[in-house]
Amino acid sequence: MPLISGALALAAPCAAREAITFDGAKLILTNGITSVEGSGGGGLATWATISGMGTNRAIGVSAHVTGVELPDFRLDTHGVAIGIRDRVELSYARQNFNTRQIGAALGLGKGFQFNQDIYAAKVRLVGDLVYGPGWLPQISVGVEHKRNLDGAVVRAVGARASAGTDFTVSATKLFLGASVLANATVRLTKANQFGLLGFGGDRKAARSVQFEGSLGYLVTPRLVIGGEWRTRPDNLGIAREDDAKDLFAAWAVSRHVTVTAAYVDVGSVATVANQRGGLLSLQLAY
């Protein structure tokens, strides 16, 4: 008997190599929502969270659609993300930016759309959003490779390139004692208007360091309200770019469905100032 149980004990670690599956076991809302760039986050900021409801022994997936209605423009994004062992996140998002009347004024044609694909990867280095020492946030690094599909137009506007890669470092923590969620992200980027107007410009061609901050308050287990601030480069001489801000409410309708509504202020876009409007986002996560 001791022999057999010894052998079985040795075999036990093999169980750790069992097929990795969905467990859908994250705590509700702790998967976050999806940013306008398709990675797990808040609305404007990329967070250190890994998309999907899977925990450290499972995988999770999510899909999102987001619409941002501005006085003179409309941005639509949709995308999918997969979270592996709550460690690695791979995401794809498509952004369609409709210039409406402004397109005509800019000589692009009424309703001209800028389109962009964003392929992103994120790795959680250390820490946990909820668990572990209260002072240690979940810290992740990410890359977002953006490919603008209207290269000729963005170059005509003054952009140096039609594709670019952002690098991010994010720290996100749920401070349970205060029911507060906080995020800070540093982004290295040369994207103009998230990349919708290309990358780099006459004023600055290289990447610069930008900051994204988010602060949220947990009102109930399913509702978080808060705000975000995102600084952005100002590379293009002809079109000033401002910081982006939002005030949001994210509501987990169920474990799998999160609806986010936000008031967004992106400042000046493509020569048109005061672009403030509403954001509505739907995320499905498993």
Partner: protein, 188 residues
């Protein structure tokens, strides 16, 4: 759970997977006493407390794994000792009924767990208790619990607190004391 029984149970569990041709008991054969076959000695419950004795350990509030709150605000938010007992009992009732994690509690001394979990939460909330149980690492050694199991338990605690009308900020303040224990109560 008696620590020496656990390795045997763990070791025996995989045997159940491929159907080992166990000879069907015939009329002539007496049912096998597996405890006897495996040399398992079951400790008797203490007639006074109804608990199964555990291996000796050093007692102390430090075993609770968190410093208590100051003042009586949290104790009141939880409805005092009576409220806390309802919440910890309810948490365990929900847990042993949850198909995701019920198996982990099988064969464990729930009488003792009900008492010690109450003491621990009561101590942390500064509601007038001492914690007499084991430290979290020792108590959860070998259980093989995962993050997913922990989340399930937290969901039950949240439900129990909600049912007891504990305010959401106070719920989170207790969870903030428990959250740093994840490394000691989970293993995988």
């Amino acid at each position: 759970m008696m620590p020496f029984l656990l390795p045997l149970l763990l070791a025996a569990a995989p045997l159940a997977e491929p159907p080992v041709a166990a000879p069907a008991p015939t009329e002539t054969e007496a049912p096998v006493d597996w405890d006897k076959e495996f040399g398992v000695v079951r400790k008797a419950r203490d007639p006074a407390t109804g608990e199964i004795p555990v291996d000796p350990y050093v007692q102390g509030d430090a075993n609770a794994g968190a410093h208590p709150f100051a003042g009586d605000g949290m104790a009141r938010a939880f409805g005092g000792q009576a409220g806390i007992r309802r919440i910890t009992d309810r948490t365990l009732d929900l847990s042993v009924a949850d198909p995701r994690i019920k198996a982990i509690f099988e064969e464990h001394d729930m009488v003792r767990l009900r008492r010690t979990l109450f003491e621990q939460v009561c101590f942390i909330l500064n509601a007038g208790c001492r914690y007499s149980g084991r430290d979290m690492k020792v108590a959860h050694k070998g259980l093989g619990t995962t993050r997913a199991d922990l989340n399930a338990l937290v969901e039950h605690l949240q439900q129990a607190m909600r049912e007891a009308h504990v305010s959401f900020p106070a719920q989170n303040r207790l969870l903030a004391k428990l959250a740093p224990m994840d490394r000691t109560v989970t293993e995988r």
